[in-house]
């Protein structure tokens, strides 16, 4: 518990210093606002609007990625104990992966993966 206490003190000091420095600049610093200063600075790049449109294809591909990516989560526990599961586990996983495969075939043929 003792060492955690020290950690807490560290956090406290860090937060305190940050607050003090911030307070000093806010109260003492001169303020001259102009539009150029208010722009976000990004190494000389022209900053784009944050809410610019992304191609809708992007969302579809991203959604499909999440789906297929998540399904592989079942492969990890299976891989750890597949020797113990024997043929039952083998055929169970074969049927699982084949259904997933058919899903991929469907998506592919449907044209959801074509970018253009």
């Amino acid at each position: 518990m003792h060492s955690y206490g020290l950690l807490l003190v560290l956090f406290g000091i860090a937060a305190g210093i940050a607050t003090i420095l911030y307070a000093i600049t806010v109260t003492l610093g001169p303020r001259a606002r102009n539009p150029t200063k208010d722009e976000p600075f990004e190494c000389g790049n022209i900053v784009k609007q944050v809410n610019h449109r992304v191609s809708v294809k992007f969302y579809i591909v991203a959604l499909l990625f999440i789906l297929f990516d998540m399904e592989t989560v079942f492969l990890y526990p299976w891989a750890v104990i597949y020797r113990d599961l024997g043929w039952t586990g083998f055929w169970a996983m074969i049927s699982f992966v084949s259904v997933l495969m058919l899903g991929l075939v469907y998506v592919w043929k449907k044209g959801a993966l074509d970018w253009d």
């Binding site: 999440i66 789906l67 079942f74």
Partner: protein, 103 residues
């Protein structure tokens, strides 16, 4: 090695997370944020499952978490697809704009 954190603490954390999620669903107006709050509720449930799986020394609980995550991913896919359709239709996903039907 420090003594293990009791399972109750995880439970309380999960209940807090769940409550934040449920409150968010009721308060927030952006459909995506509402959906994120729902995901928070699901993850609170996952936290309960995983900590009690450890507490009961029952491996089944770990598998339940994986099942929930896979199901949640499928739900996300359908939900976001619906939101995209909605946004194309009326350029907004605010739940306050869902006013075509009433009575």
């Amino acid at each position: 090695m420090s003594p293990a954190i009791p399972v109750e603490n995880y439970l309380y954390l999960a209940i807090v997370l769940f409550s934040i999620g449920a409150a968010g669903v009721l308060i927030r107006r952006n459909a995506i944020v509402v959906f994120m709050c729902i995901e928070l509720m699901l993850n609170a449930a996952n936290l309960v499952l995983i900590s009690f799986a450890r507490h009961h020394a029952d491996p089944a609980g770990h598998i339940y978490v994986l099942l929930v995550m896979a199901v949640a991913a499928a739900e996300v896919a359908v939900g976001l697809a619906i939101m995209i359709a909605m946004f194309r239709e009326r350029k907004s996903i605010h739940v306050d704009d869902l006013r075509d039907m009433h009575g």
